[in-house]
Every structure is written in structure tokens, then in C-alpha cells.
């Protein structure tokens, strides 16, 4: 379970939004909504340990009882999906997946695993391509698969569908929902799209700016 307790974003010690508290159960998604610039993405950046300098995060977050803010980003075991898939351009499709898999097994075995996983999301036969050779939809699916293969304990979704066209958007929503349920992990979705929130989330939290 992912728990947020009075999480806020501040600038020069001045809180910018009203505190956010939420409990997200395994296999469920909670959506954060609000006007542009209110600080939705900053909350995810605070949780993932990548808040830009100049902003401060306040409040606590715990994942399965573990206090996240006391850990380095790489120790938090959070997966993050954003608008930009951020696939590593110098690695092939299979290498991007092998990079994310936990340590263990021979290179051949890891490569075989990567191929199997690609087939599961309909990307079979693309393992030797470079990310730039994939379509937008294929890149989005690969980014989701890569994140899940790193076995995160929670998923942060920062407007991951906003760059996709309407039909692809619907397909990705279903894929993400199924993946979260299958992995049985909590997820927080930041979006400005009502359809994203209503179709995926069990709870919608509206962020409000202070002052």
C-alpha cells in the first residue's frame, strides 16, 4: 500500500498547494487532477526523488511501511511512466528491457525472457530495432513493459497517454490498468484528462493552489 500524508510542494518554504493525503491499495489507481501548473507533476517528482532545485517537498510517503523520503531514488522501487517514453536511444528494444530486469541469469536467458515479454505486448520481432525505429504506440508499450520488468512496488503515471492519439490512448489505458492489477501494485496517476481519471482511478483528488 502507498500512503501519502500531508504531501505539499513549497517554494522558498512557502507551500504552493493544499496538503494531499491518500491511501492507495495494491492493484488500484488514485488520480491527481487540477489546473495546469498547480504542481501535479511536482508531487510525483517529490515521490520519485527528482524534484527540481528551487522547489521543496513537504510531508511523508510510505510504501508497504517503508518511509520513501529517507531513501535514494534508486532504492524507492517506484516505476515512473511519463509523456516521453525515455527509452535509451543507444540500446535496442531488447537491451532496454534487459537493462530493466533484475540481476540474474545468463545473457542468453535474459535475451530469451525479453523476447517473450515483447511478444506478450504485441512487439514480437522488434527486439533488435532501436527505439527511434518504433511508432509512438510501440514506444509507449515498450516503456510500460520496461517499467514493469524492473519489478516496482508502486507505479507513478505522469500524463503517460497525453501524446497518444485517441484510439491508442484507449488501448494504452486498458493495458496499464491490466498491468497494475496483474502486478498487484498501487499507482498514482497525474492527468488533466477526465476520461483517463474516470476510466482508471478508484479515487480522484483535486489539487488546489494556496493563495
Amino acid at each position: 500500500m502507498l500512503e501519502l500524508t500531508s504531501v505539499q510542494i513549497a517554494h522558498k518554504r512557502q507551500a504552493l498547494i493544499k496538503p494531499v493525503s491518500a491511501s492507495v491499495n495494491n492493484g488500484e489507481i488514485v488520480a491527481l487532477m487540477g489546473p495546469s501548473g498547480v504542481g501535479k507533476s511536482s508531487i510525483l517528482a517529490y515521490l520519485s526523488g527528482s524534484l527540481s532545485s528551487g522547489l521543496q517537498g513537504l510531508g511523508q510517503a510510505s510504501l508497504d511501511g517503508l518511509q520513501l523520503m529517507q531513501l535514494a531514488p534508486e532504492q524507492r522501487q517506484l516505476g515512473l511512466l511519463q509523456q516521453h517514453p525515455l527509452l535509451f536511444p543507444h540500446m535496442t528494444v531488447a537491451e532496454n528491457l534487459m537493462f530493466a530486469m533484475p540481476k540474474g541469469g545468463s545473457q542468453t536467458e535474459r535475451y530469451r525472457q525479453a523476447k517473450l515479454h515483447l511478444a506478450e505486448v504485441g512487439l514480437q520481432g522488434l527486439e533488435e530495432r532501436l527505439p527511434e525505429q518504433l511508432s509512438g504506440g510501440q514506444q509507449a508499450r515498450l516503456a510500460l513493459l520496461r517499467t514493469l520488468l524492473s519489478k516496482p512496488n508502486a507505479l507513478l503515471l505522469d500524463e503517460p497517454f497525453s501524446k497518444l492519439d485517441k484510439s491508442l490512448r484507449q488501448e494504452m489505458r486498458q493495458l496499464v490498468k491490466q498491468a497494475i492489477e496483474k502486478a498487484n501494485i498501487p499507482a498514482i496517476l497525474v492527468t488533466h484528462d477526465e476520461d483517463d481519471a474516470t476510466q482508471l482511478a478508484v479515487q480522484i483528488i483535486e489539487l488546489e493552489a494556496l493563495g
Binding site: 531514488p73 534508486e74 515512473l80 534487459m98 537493462f99 533484475p102 535474459r110 524492473s150
Partner: protein, 565 residues
């Protein structure tokens, strides 16, 4: 009218920069095979090559050039990349960048003279720790500079080239998405420095190849730095063959030409080897990354490199600080840490000579910067219009990658033939040729990224294309133009060999004088010269940073002041 002239002008410039290149190469290839009409030798033969390969001085010089050039480049790259990796997401990264950038404008000879006065047995480093730590009351009998293995030369080259590679790497990072890439890798569980090695470094290296090869070529073939601080029994190959070329009997010219060709081939071979080794390392690193280990021992490699970088930066700062100390020192006995008394006499002693040398350096640098800028703008405008740049890039890069010592002797023969030797305009021409690649490279990205719609709109509003080009396009590009002018100014001030060979001793600059006097033992006078050599480009660099920033507000304030009525 101007657009009609554009194509012929472009081809004229290409001809102007490729002819001397060709002349330079022919001028060493033919004499190396015995054909040298100037000496009345018209038969082709391989005796000069045989003679060269029997020279032990050639082999030891080659060994030194290869060793010092490769090691200095390797250390500079290792230190620079490590410091960037360690400091990149730290709050002080921007301040570090701001502190390093001015160092780029300081000529090699100037910093090397500082390093000489720092590392010598009687240098500042030994003074700082003497006698309380070492017990030395006299300078120790050590070979800390001009050592036979070229260690001091390697240190001097790393001191100068590490900041440049850091600057190039920081510039390369702006073309990537470093923050997000690192974030993605770290959220997959990778430790910060390991994430750098597996995700960003392979991408950065692709963008860094040219700066690294420029540094490698420079380190292997440099003459002024090697003359000041490098070994002299034997010297590096570049210094040795300069001596052979200048041999008054002219009997060694053929052998020197063959050695100059070997040096050029060695540079190309080392670039190839560097690429092959890098490919092997890259392949190994990819395999390492695919194993899924979240923390690699490579992080310790990086932390060691960053420590080396911090140490090098300290040496750089001390090398620069020691120059004004010597320049204003009256009495500074060993082992005192500081001079016992200070004076302005060293400046006044340099007096008229200092003024004339500064004026010569300044006028050459200013003219070559302005000419270089105009030529680069013409090349880039043609490139923008016709979307072709391959030929231009190859010719310009050849000027940077081929050893100066190889090309300049052929060119010198041409100058002698035309009776243009020892002429200020010949020196200026060579300065322009060696500055042009830098102004072109600095301006290329911002110039080609300029939104032409502004200029098109201006042309629709007023039918004065040239005026609009200056008032709109160049005005909007004033920051990169000023930066490129500052870089070219610094490149020109630093030119040693082109000034020496085309000027034939009749045209002297701060650089030629400082290098010639470096070994004289008159540290006070040499420091004054080196300091003046460093200050000129530094002032230009500061102006280039300040003027574009305050140009518009200053212009408007002046207009309010004088045109209020």
C-alpha cells in the same frame, strides 16, 4: 546582388582554405621523397626515409609524442568526464562551469609557463612545503619539469585540456535529456554513477568525438607547450622536426618532411585506435549493463577520476596565480612561500617591448577574429541555403586535426616562393586559417537554428536585405557571435608556430616572445609576458559575455539620454 555573389564567394573561400592545405601537404610529401626544387633536388628516392628510420632521435621523439599525447588525452577525458558525472546534479555545477569557462580563453603557453614556475624544483609547490615539511633550504636536485619521460608535459597538457573537454561535454549534454535519462535509470534501481555509465556516457561520447580528437591531435603535435615544459634530450617529435627544418645547412629538410608525414599519420592512426578501443569498451559496457547489476565498480573509477580532476583544477589555479606573483615580485628567495617585497619595476622593465608585443598580438587577433567571422558567416549562409556542408566540414577539420608542424613547412616554402615570407599579412592569413574552424564550429548550431521567419518578415516590411540581415539576424545572434569572436581572439593570441614560421622573426607577438624567453631564467620578465598574454583574451572573453547581455538595455538608455527631444 549579394545573393548573386554568394556562390562565387563560397567557392572562393573554399579555394582559399583548401589551397594552403594542399600546398602544405605537397610541401612535405615531395621533399620527403627527394624532390625539392628549392634545393636543386629533382630526383625521387627513398633515402630520406632510410635516414629517418636510422635516427634514434626519431624513434625516441616518436615514443614521447605518442606516450605524452595519448596519456594526456586519456587523463584529460577521464578527469573531465568524471568531474561532470559527479557534479552534474549538484547545486554548484553551474558555478563550476562559470569558473572553468574563462580558463578556456587563456593561451596554452601562458598556463604552461605558470605550470613551469609551479612544478619546477624551485617552483611554488616546493616553496609552499619548504622548509617546514621538506627541510629544503635550497631547491632539490629533481627533474620535475622537462623530465625525460615527459610527465611534466603530460600534466601541463591535462591542465589546459581538461577544462576544454568539460566545456565540450557540458555543451553535448544540452543536446540530450540528461536529467530525465538519469531519472529513468535511477528509478529502474541503478545507482547514480552507474546510471551515468550505462545510459548517458555512451550518448555523450558520440557527440564528443570531434573535441576529443582535436585534443588528441593537439597533444601529440604541440610545439610551444613541449618547448616550455617538455623533455629536451630528446624532445617530442614535433619539437625535434622543427629543429631539423630550421637546420641552417638545409640538409635535414627531407628527413624532417618524412618525420612530419609520420607525425600526421600517427595522429590519424591514434584516432583510429581510439575509436576501436572505444568500440571494444562500449561493447563490454553494454554487456555489463545487460547483466542487471544495479551498482558497478565503474563508480569507483569515476570517483578516482573526479579526485584527479579536483587536483588538476588546483594545479590550474595555482599555475595562474603564480604568474602575477612573479610579475610583481621584487625579491623572492627560495624557500620563501611569498616574495619578500613587491614592485612594478618588472612591468616598466618590459616597457616599450611589452606595448609593441601586445599591440602586435591585439591587432593580429582582432583582424583575424573579424575576418574569420565574416568568412564563417558566408560559409554558414551558403550552408543554410543549400543544405550542404560535408566538404566545408572536412576541409576545416583537416586544419584542426593535421599537425601544424606538418602543414606549415609546405606553406612556408610557398610563401618563400611568392616572396611573402616575414610579412604581417602572411601571418594574419595563417591566423585566419587556424581561427576559422573554431568560429565556424562555435557559430554553426545557433546560426542554423535561427528562425528565418524573422528575417523574411523584416524583408517584407523593408526592402533592404543587407541592412535587415545585420539589424535582425546578426543582432539576434549577437550572443553566439560575441562568444565566437572571443574564442577566435584567444585562438589567434595563442598561435605560436604560424607566427614563428610566416613571420620569420620579423613579426613577434606576446606568445612567440614568451615561449622564446621561457627557458631564459628571467622569471619576472617571462611572467609579465605570460600575464599579458593571458589578460588580453580574458578581457575579450569578459566583454563578449557582458556586451550582448546589456546591449539592448544600454542602447535604449543611450537613446533616452541623447534623443529625448
Amino acid at each position: 546582388m549579394l545573393s548573386m555573389l554568394q556562390r562565387p564567394l563560397y567557392w572562393l573561400i573554399i579555394l582559399g582554405i583548401s589551397m594552403p592545405l594542399l600546398l602544405g601537404l605537397i610541401g612535405v610529401v615531395l621533399p620527403s621523397f627527394g624532390y625539392d626544387p628549392a634545393l636543386g633536388q629533382l630526383d625521387f628516392h627513398g633515402q630520406h626515409w632510410q635516414q629517418l628510420f636510422h635516427q634514434s632521435e626519431f624513434w625516441s621523439g616518436l615514443r614521447l609524442s605518442l606516450g605524452s599525447g595519448l596519456l594526456a588525452t586519456l587523463f584529460a577525458y577521464w578527469f573531465a568526464s568524471s568531474l561532470i558525472m559527479v557534479s552534474f546534479d549538484k547545486p554548484w555545477f553551474t558555478r563550476l562551469q562559470a569558473a572553468i569557462t574563462p580558463i578556456l580563453s587563456i593561451p596554452h603557453a601562458s598556463i604552461t609557463i605558470g605550470a613551469l614556475f609551479l612544478l619546477a624544483p624551485s617552483g611554488w609547490l616546493v616553496r609552499i612545503i619548504s622548509p617546514w615539511l621538506t627541510g629544503f633550504e635550497r631547491p632539490p636536485n629533481w627533474l620535475t619539469v622537462q623530465d625525460p619521460n615527459g610527465l611534466a608535459l603530460i600534466i601541463a597538457l591535462v591542465i589546459k585540456e581538461m577544462p576544454y573537454l568539460m566545456f565540450a561535454m557540458a555543451a553535448a549534454l544540452t543536446q540530450l535529456q540528461p536529467d530525465k535519462t538519469l531519472q529513468a535509470a535511477r528509478l529502474l534501481g541503478y545507482e547514480r554513477l552507474t546510471a551515468w555509465h550505462f545510459t548517458l556516457l555512451p550518448q555523450v561520447f558520440r557527440l564528443m568525438r570531434l573535441p576529443i580528437f582535436m585534443v588528441l591531435a593537439f597533444n601529440m603535435t604541440v610545439v610551444d607547450v613541449a618547448t616550455i615544459i617538455g623533455p629536451n634530450t630528446p624532445s617530442t617529435l614535433a619539437v625535434t622536426l622543427l629543429r631539423w627544418f630550421n637546420d641552417p645547412t638545409l640538409l635535414l629538410r627531407g628527413q624532417a618532411s618524412a618525420a612530419a608525414l609520420v607525425l600526421a599519420l600517427m595522429v590519424l592512426l591514434c584516432i583510429l585506435v581510439w575509436l576501436l578501443v572505444y568500440r571494444a569498451i562500449h561493447h563490454w559496457r553494454q554487456l555489463h549493463a545487460m547483466s542487471g547489476g544495479r551498482s558497478s565498480w565503474l563508480r569507483y573509477w569515476t570517483l578516482t577520476g573526479a579526485t584527479g580532476a579536483a587536483f588538476t583544477l588546483c594545479l590550474t589555479i595555482l599555475s595562474l596565480v603564480v604568474l602575477p606573483i612573479w610579475a610583481f615580485a621584487q625579491r623572492w628567495r627560495f624557500p620563501d612561500t611569498w616574495p619578500a617585497s613587491w614592485t612594478l619595476d618588472n612591468l616598466s622593465r618590459a616597457g616599450d617591448r611589452l606595448v609593441s608585443l601586445s599591440a602586435a598580438s591585439f591587432s593580429l587577433a582582432l583582424c583575424s577574429a573579424l575576418i574569420g567571422l565574416i568568412l564563417a558567416l558566408l560559409l554558414l549562409e551558403h550552408e543554410r541555403k543549400y543544405q550542404r556542408s560535408d566538404g566545408t566540414v572536412i576541409i576545416l577539420f583537416s586544419w584542426v586535426l593535421l599537425p601544424q608542424v606538418t602543414l606549415l613547412f609546405g606553406i612556408q616554402v610557398g610563401l618563400l616562393f611568392l616572396n611573402w615570407n616575414g610579412n604581417w599579412f602572411s601571418v594574419l592569413g595563417l591566423h585566419v586559417l587556424y581561427s576559422l574552424p573554431y568560429v565556424y564550429l562555435t557559430l554553426k548550431a545557433p546560426y542554423l537554428a535561427f528562425n528565418e521567419a524573422y528575417l523574411q518578415q523584416a524583408n517584407r516590411l523593408r526592402a533592404t536585405p543587407l541592412r535587415n540581415f545585420i539589424l535582425i539576424k546578426l543582432a539576434l545572434l549577437k550572443a553566439p557571435i560575441a562568444a565566437s569572436l572571443a574564442i577566435v581572439f584567444s585562438v589567434s593570441v595563442a598561435q605560436y608556430l604560424p607566427t614563428l614560421l610566416a613571420g620569420e622573426g620579423r613579426i613577434n607577438t606576446l606568445t612567440t616572445e614568451a615561449v622564446a624567453r621561457a627557458a631564459s631564467g628571467d622569471r619576472k620578465l617571462v611572467s609579465v609576458l605570460a600575464l599579458a598574454q593571458a589578460i588580453l583574451p580574458l578581457i575579450c572573453f569578459m566583454l563578449a559575455t557582458m556586451i550582448p547581455r546589456y546591449w539592448t538595455t544600454g542602447r535604449l538608455a543611450l537613446r533616452r539620454q541623447f534623443c529625448s527631444n
